[in-house]
Amino acid sequence: MPPNKLGIVKSLRFARLLYLFVICLAFYLLFTSRSGEVRTIWEVMHPFFIPMFFASTFLLSLIILSSERTEYKLLFLILHSVLSHTFMIIIFPAGNVGVQQMMLGKSRRVFDNVLYPGSGMPAISLPLRIYYSFRGDNFQTAFSVIFARMFGVDVYWSHLLLVPLLWGIFVPVAAFMMTRALGRSDNTSILSSLMISLFPANIIWGAVSISNGLGYLFFFCFIYFLLKYIHSSKVKDFFLVATFLFISFLSHYLAGTVAFSLLILANSIKTYQKDKRRSPASARFMLLLAFIFCASILPFALAYRRFFYPWANTSFSLQKLFEAPFADVLWSLLLGSYFDLIAREAYFTAIIYGVTSLVSLIGMVCILGLRIGAKNSPKRSINPALLFLFLGSLMVIADDRIVRSFMINVPFIEIDRLWLFRDFTLLPFLAIFIAAAMQEMRTTLDRICRNITTSLRRTATHKLSKKLSFFARIRLPKKVSLGFMLTNFFFLAIISGWATVSVYYAYPHWSPLQTTSYELEAVKYIKATTNETYIVVCDSWMTYAGAMIVGIHNPQAYYFSSRDPHGVALFIEMRNNPTNETMKEAMKTNNATTAYFIIEKPRLGTDEYDNVIQKAQQNKILTYKTFYYEGIEKLHIFYYQKES
């Protein structure tokens, strides 16, 4: 091997080892930040973690720009992506509090062979049965349970890790494949992979194990297969598209509906490609019609969801337009959800979430413009994949505006649900834009560097001192491209900084108290020490912990769901006036022999907690167990047992 090449191999090997060391250190720092009582990850995050994350991203970017093999680059990127999606799982005792825990509650029932929702409702109508069967939580349950059984672990672990791991592994791969399908080099595709997997909305949706996360993931893979399908007419490619469409739909109806619209759009573009030579005007008109049809699928699907689910009340309305001031309506139509952020003075968040999409859109429009503008050139014909992505992102933007401004009672309230679909189609262009900017900057700097050196060399020998002549004569431009180095350093710093800021803004900075370690211990303790049927009266936070360990509505170990009005009423009654009579009333729910009542100090506040304990003792309710955290009393369990 020539010495030059040997040196490169050695330095690549060193970079690999260094990156692995830094990423292991970052994981270690995350583990040391783990806490039993915490609100947000930033409360307890190790102070060295963020600098370490920046350093690891810098190293990763360096490896990406090097001549390292593509599979190594992807492998490191996957590691990085997994790291950035597992903050909540590692730091919190039971992952993020809320919906994902209720989903685990459903999976738990199937895992423990307790009950499956479908088995308990023979009297419901066929459309409703179809609706329930195709809900994303069933598909997620199937995943969690089958993986738990395969690996011989509790469903708790397979559920918590499901989305962050799948997302961490497959989003970088799909992003890489998608950018490569647009005809870009491996290096640009890897850069695109890094940018997409570290986009703030992508981080947060991939960090929580809910069916939306699965839906987005499979939708993203679907787009790659759709791009392949646009260029090919093989049955195998259509099979893959159909499979991923079905999977997106099974994961979440929103992902499925948008995927279905895009499939029709892709087919229309294929037809347009065939027809445009024969009759360009009619082909364009048909494409426009197809675009309008595709954009209307999601709003109509939402409005007519009531055919399957009679309680859905989404409908078209001009109410929002009449209620808001005209200027607000106009800005809202123009900027979409970014207007909400700006109106709330969350300028920095708006920039963090918006700037990349804007740059991507500019990149996409530039490429399209260059193609269209290239007269008398073979490049003039627009790549159908490019046209598809452009129309696809426009379609999602149109859907976003229709859903926001012309519909009421839309079943999703988060502002960024549709952003992700748009970003998946747009973000590859960010990397393409950055790669082009890097190339341009390198060339410019190189040229400037060469010009300066040449002019110095010319003038120095005649007019300037010998000292300057020495600097002019060194063959810097020939040995090392200064421009290249400067550009790389500049972009590496920007990319690493962007990724770090992106992670920092992706995870919430305010949150209620997460499920604590002592709440989990209390649920486990009751489960381990009670052989008979029991019911637990507690607040909604405790029901989350209960759902994770014994499942929701488990007839043997009953926890109400967090939204069950009966459960909420019983808890309020017990909190105001704890009596054995209320416990007896609760026991009727599942014919239990024991009832437990749980209160937690951080949830109620010290005064109310002490007050409830005092009242319960006055009313002769027996204490089952008290739990402490770091030496301070935190949780109290009361109980009542039916006399045999």
Binding site: N138, F139, A142, V145, I146, R149, I169, V173
Partner: protein
């Protein structure tokens, strides 16, 4: 990576048999010992063999690494869909039915791999 080629060739159905044996091992582990170490080892083997089968069946033109990754993505999807269908049809996904899901996926992956090999040979 030579290993990947050998798995894809699946001479005398050697790797299909190994994959079926792994399914049996997972079933026995669930029934008798429930050790994560056995489960994890068996599952890694399962993913290695069947992911390679599906990668070769559907993505034969991709690089080895990407072929393996995409094969595993398809495998995960097949596992999910068949597990979901089992749950919907039987209202249950207990140990026996989970083993059945693994068996169906293994058999289908092997058949798809064989079919593609034959198709490529005739080309």
């Amino acid at each position: 990576m030579i290993m990947q080629e050998r798995i894809a060739r699946d001479e005398k159905l050697l790797f299909t048999t190994v994959s079926l044996a792994v399914t049996l091992l997972i079933f026995l582990n669930l029934n008798f010992s429930l050790t994560p170490a056995i489960g994890t080892t068996a599952s890694i083997l399962y993913f290695l063999i069947n992911g390679t089968f599906l990668g070769h069946a559907f993505f034969e033109k991709e690089d080895r690494f990407l072929r393996f990754m995409l094969g595993n993505l398809l495998l995960i999807i097949f596992l999910g869909v068949i597990a979901w269908a089992t749950m919907i049809i039987f209202y249950n996904l207990d140990i026996v039915r989970s083993a059945l899901v693994l068996f169906i996926v293994t058999t289908s992956s092997s058949l798809l791999n064989k079919r593609m090999k034959r198709k490529n040979a005739t080309k």
